[in-house]
């Protein structure tokens, strides 16, 4: 209903146009997606939040170039409007805004890399297991289930005791290596249902090899789902990294949002001393970032899936 009446052109004119020059549905479908995207409050709000956070992560360290761990400034300054002191300073005299912007950067980095790594592994395992089936599926499924029940924190504790220096890169890779299993399972199930469809048979009959069938027939059919999976993995990676940071297993050099909270509670006694500007910004940052990603996931789901549209 809304698809017809909601298009910006007049219904009568649209019908005339369609008779003379039928619009290719791909364009129409894409236009429709954009139309519903711009109408979805969930999408718009979450996209705005993410854009603002991304802006801070990209340009924040350029505007306020104070070293986040310099420890040179006046300690426990209240936030003021003065540049270099927007969020005040820590117990050790570090600039909180600089820490926040750099931490946000690290969070995005972990999200992109960790989420991306998890998405690549999850898609690879899911597609191959679902498409090939048989013993390969059994083996991959077994590996997936093993990874699913491995306690990530315990493994990290063991690894940490051997590694003296851990960077954000290590954290991202680690998070990526441990958060793919559910994605693999979901993609495997979808591939399973798609692979028995007749157009897959037709592609095989056209001489297409296995990986081409996966890449050009199966994956495009679930592209929106894959996109949503990546967003969820992105948010999940950030959250997992933040919780690792908070219990002191974060990067040893550099800064992250979770590490700020860890430092404020463990070394700075921020709660007791009332340095609220030290732990509130990273907390809000994490909540806003992960929350916006999840809300965006729900919004995009409604945009891609007409059945969920709130009409």
């Amino acid at each position: 209903m809304t698809a017809a009446t909601g298009t910006p052109t007049k219904p009568g004119a649209a019908a005339d146009d369609a008779d003379k020059n039928p619009t290719p549905p791909a364009k129409r479908a894409r236009g429709e997606t954009l139309f519903f995207a711009l109408r979805s409050k969930k999408f718009l709000v979450s996209a705005t939040i993410l854009l603002v956070l991304a802006f801070i992560a990209i340009f924040g360290p350029l505007i306020d170039s104070t070293d986040p761990v310099a420890q040179g400034g006046l300690p426990m300054r209240h936030p003021t409007l003065e540049l270099g002191n927007w969020f005040g300073s820590t117990y050790f005299g570090d600039d909180v805004f600089s820490q926040f912007a750099n931490g946000l950067r690290a969070s995005f980095f972990v999200g992109f890399l960790g989420g991306g790594l998890a998405a690549v592994i999850g898609m690879g395992v899911g597609f191959v297991a679902g498409y090939r089936g048989g013993w390969l599926d059994e083996i991959l499924n077994m590996i997936t289930n093993i990874f699913l029940v491995i306690p990530t924190l315990a493994v990290l504790l063991v690894i940490t005791s051997y590694l003296a220096a851990r960077g954000v890169l290590f954290e991202a890779v680690f998070v990526g290596l441990f958060s793919w299993p559910w994605a693999a399972r979901a993609i495997r199930a979808q591939t399973f249902s798609l692979r028995s469809r007749e157009f897959i048979d037709l592609a095989k009959l056209s001489g297409r090899s296995g990986w081409k069938v996966i890449l050009f027939e199966i994956a495009p059919n679930m592209s929106s789902y894959l996109f949503l999976t990546y967003i969820l993995l992105f948010g999940g990676a950030i959250l997992l990294a933040a919780s690792l940071d908070f219990i002191g297993l974060g990067p040893t050099g550099g800064m992250s949002l979770g590490l700020m909270m860890y430092n404020s509670v463990t070394y700075g006694a921020a709660l007791q001393l009332g340095i609220w500007w030290w732990f509130i910004p990273p907390g809000i940052g994490i909540i806003a970032l992960v929350g916006a990603l999840y809300v965006m996931n729900v919004g995009l789901d409604e945009i891609f899936n007409p059945k969920l549209r709130d009409i």
Partner: protein, 319 residues
């Protein structure tokens, strides 16, 4: 020649794969070039599975399928592509044969990218046009459209046209007429006849006896995965021997005849005129299990064979 030799397909079912579900049982027949063989059977009789085994879309459990002497199960990798150049299939449901998110003529470009990558664009479009004319489609009506914008009949004929782009020797036509309306149906049937006269071998899978009768030289009647009767079409239809074939032929709806009358007719006969099982007359059942290479069909007359009369209802009365 496409030749099936005691082909079986079974699936493992149950919790630990302990049970076996036999979909196709000891099926042997040949399809010659320039010949239409109709494979007739009810739903679930294994017709589609046989077609898919020929097309290497389903693995063969036992037996072998050979194409011009080459074992089909033994070809892998690049040889499969070469095999598909000569053996193609058209499936029963045209709507699910197209990837819904792409344009329908993508089935042509797939063929081009895999088989005719270095063909000139104009030459290729001429080829497509010729193939479309062969299936009585107007190129500008069907090209550059999405599957949902075309009718089932158009989609089905596009699939036939797609197969025509290759150098076909054999075509597996799985219920390709079922989705078409009466007027286009005859076009496609005539097209198949034309392809046959040009030397193509066609396996015409159908559940419609009259279509099979109309087009084919040879008829294979399938029930529960096994051949019950096969032979030259006029012999199978003229002198049906197996009780199942008889019931099938009587139950073809006819103009000027109500089903109630037909049913009464069958009931009056009591389904009892099948007589003794010809198969077990010729090959009396031994006490032990049958040998793996024991025959499955008995000759009725030249080019006419029939299987055991057992319909799973104890009708087979061993003499």
């Amino acid at each position: 020649m496409l030749s099936l030799n005691r082909v079986s397909k079974s699936y493992k079912v149950g919790t630990f794969g302990g049970k076996e579900l036999v979909a196709v049982r000891d099926v042997s027949f040949d399809v010659d070039e320039g010949e239409v063989v109709s494979l007739i059977g009810e739903s679930g009789s294994g017709k589609t599975t046989i077609g898919k085994m020929i097309l290497k879309l389903v693995e063969i459990s036992r037996g072998s399928i050979t194409c011009d002497g080459t074992d089909v199960a033994g070809i892998h990798g690049g040889a499969v592509k070469a095999y598909y150049r000569h053996v193609q299939g058209v499936f029963q449901d045209p709507f699910s044969s197209y990837n819904p998110i792409f344009k329908a003529d993508r089935v042509f470009s797939m063929i081009r990218s895999e088989y005719f990558a270095d063909m000139a664009r104009s030459e290729w479009s001429d080829k497509i046009e010729a193939a479309l004319r062969a299936v009585t489609l107007e190129p500008d009506q069907v090209l550059n459209k999405y599957p949902h914008q075309l009718s089932g009949g158009q989609l089905q004929r596009l699939l036939v046209a797609r197969a025509l782009l290759l150098d076909l020797k054999f075509l597996v036509a799985d219920e390709i007429i079922s989705m078409l309306d009466a007027s286009t149906r005859i076009d496609v049937l005539n097209l198949l006849a034309d392809l046959k006269s040009r030397g193509m071998g066609i396996l015409f899978i159908t559940h419609d006896l009259s279509l099979g009768n109309y087009i084919s030289e040879k008829t294979v009647i399938l029930r529960r995965g096994a051949i019950v009767e096969m032979g030259a079409t006029e012999k199978v239809f003229g002198n049906p021997t197996h009780p199942y074939t008889k019931v099938l032929i009587t139950s073809v709806p006819q103009l000027h005849k109500k089903w109630a009358d037909v049913e009464a007719e069958i009931r009056a006969r009591g389904g009892d005129d099948s007589g003794t099982c010809l198969f077990h007359q010729a090959y009396p059942p031994t006490a032990g299990p049958a040998a793996a290479d024991a025959p499955t069909l008995v000759k009725v007359e030249d080019d006419h064979y029939v299987g055991c009369f057992d319909l799973g209802q104890g009708i087979c009365r061993v003499a």
